[in-house]
Symmetry: C2
């Protein structure tokens, strides 16, 4: 394989290799947690030097699709093996460490999607979605009331049992049972007067200021795979964020 600098959509070799590796990830040739072939194997398979494979793999490792381990090999990233286990959970106690996290499922329904949700999820009108509502507790304190919308075509046969088994490891569940790894999320955050539903669920005063977080989560290929709207009690907790210039 050689670069073709004159072609209109010229990509350097290592990007082309990266794309080929990504395809194998998407197709499931290697599943989450599996080792991928060694750099030398990939180099001979794609007929390029080890250095070029390294560059492709390095970018995928930076994007956290792959995980390298010196002496052992390179593995498909998985929520199960993550160290900082909840990169998507930003709610933190004002004082002290984040402690036991638990979740209670309120209900799970399958219904025809509203147009806004379908648009965000990239579904055609009339498609059905799963809607689930739950409460999150930190150290037994209810702090978050949320409603989650999932495209039913990607979550065939989702049941409350499955959700309850995984409690507060939903993204591991998406990955393990449905092969959907959440890579990235965008959030819009506001301060609002709590709707009655949320205030009651969290045992908070009526219309108390709460943090409203609307999230769209994305999987491989930038496809939206989850919508989430949560109301958060920030009297003794805060949303933590880091900005890199």
């Amino acid at each position: 394989m050689k670069p073709a600098p004159d072609s209109p959509a010229f990509q350097p070799l290592y990007r082309q290799i990266k794309e080929l590796i990504t395809q194998s990830l998407v197709s499931g040739e290697w599943g989450p947690g599996d080792p991928i072939p060694s750099e030398l194997e990939l180099a001979s398979r794609f007929n390029v030097s080890q250095g070029t494979v390294r560059k492709a793999v390095s970018e995928l490792a930076e994007e956290k699709l792959l995980v390298r381990q010196q002496g052992r090999g390179t593995f498909v990233a998985s929520h199960a093996q993550e160290r900082s286990q909840f990169p998507f959970l930003r709610l933190t106690p004002d004082a002290g460490q984040r402690s036991e996290l638990s979740a209670t499922l309120l209900d799970l329904r399958r219904m025809r999607g509203d147009s806004a949700s379908l648009r965000l999820l990239g579904l055609s009108s009339g498609s059905s979605i799963y809607v689930l509502r739950r409460i999150l507790r930190l150290s037994d304190k209810p702090v978050c009331y949320e409603e989650i919308r999932l495209p039913s075509n990607r979550f065939h046969g989702l049941t409350s049992q499955v959700v309850e088994q995984h409690e507060c490891m939903l993204y591991s569940m998406y990955e393990g049972r449905f092969g959907l790894r959440v890579l990235r999320a965008e959030e819009r955050i506001k301060a609002v007067a709590a709707p009655d539903e949320a205030a009651v669920a969290l045992g908070a005063p009526k219309a108390m200021p709460m943090l409203l977080i609307e999230r769209v989560a994305f999987t491989y290929g930038g496809e939206a795979c989850e919508l989430r709207r949560s109301y958060n009690d920030t009297r003794q907790h805060h949303y933590w964020n880091q900005i890199n210039g």
Copy 2:
């Protein structure tokens, strides 16, 4: 220069080079916007191969301390040249693009720092700080009331004139006038009932839910150089965030 694999604090060569380059940045040998020597020059200066310099420079470019431009050279990053000009301003209109941003300085005082601020800024007790309050407007709509605390030892001779000159480009001002580049910030976000001061300043109803953002900004070497507490009206705006798993 050769690696010393047996030494207790072994660092690969390219990390050592990276450290040397960082030192030149901190010392101001090359200022924001300046070009640094070419890779080949650095390679011969440090007596290593171009590849090793590249790896050091690449990491610094990823961390956004340097900016590479093919064919031109490598430059010290600067807030002035940034494309996405306000990476630290996350407040965005719910509908439409972010439009004209303006700021009004309410007052600027120099005072003895309270103990909490001094601790966060890493100052000894009794040190003095600047405190400035201002209002930010998006499309002429007042949306943010904030109080900023700066260590006076790093901001010698700060005046309201200087602040007003730079309006909503404070971080460019820190960099241009005081050689302090903001690299990173940590924020804690809550929903609170607006204090009277903020409600009045933004023309909002008393005790309306507002987004409270407490920020600590960091410069080279992970040193805190600014504290900021802002109250944000999120009736028609939201705080935008992206999370990478």
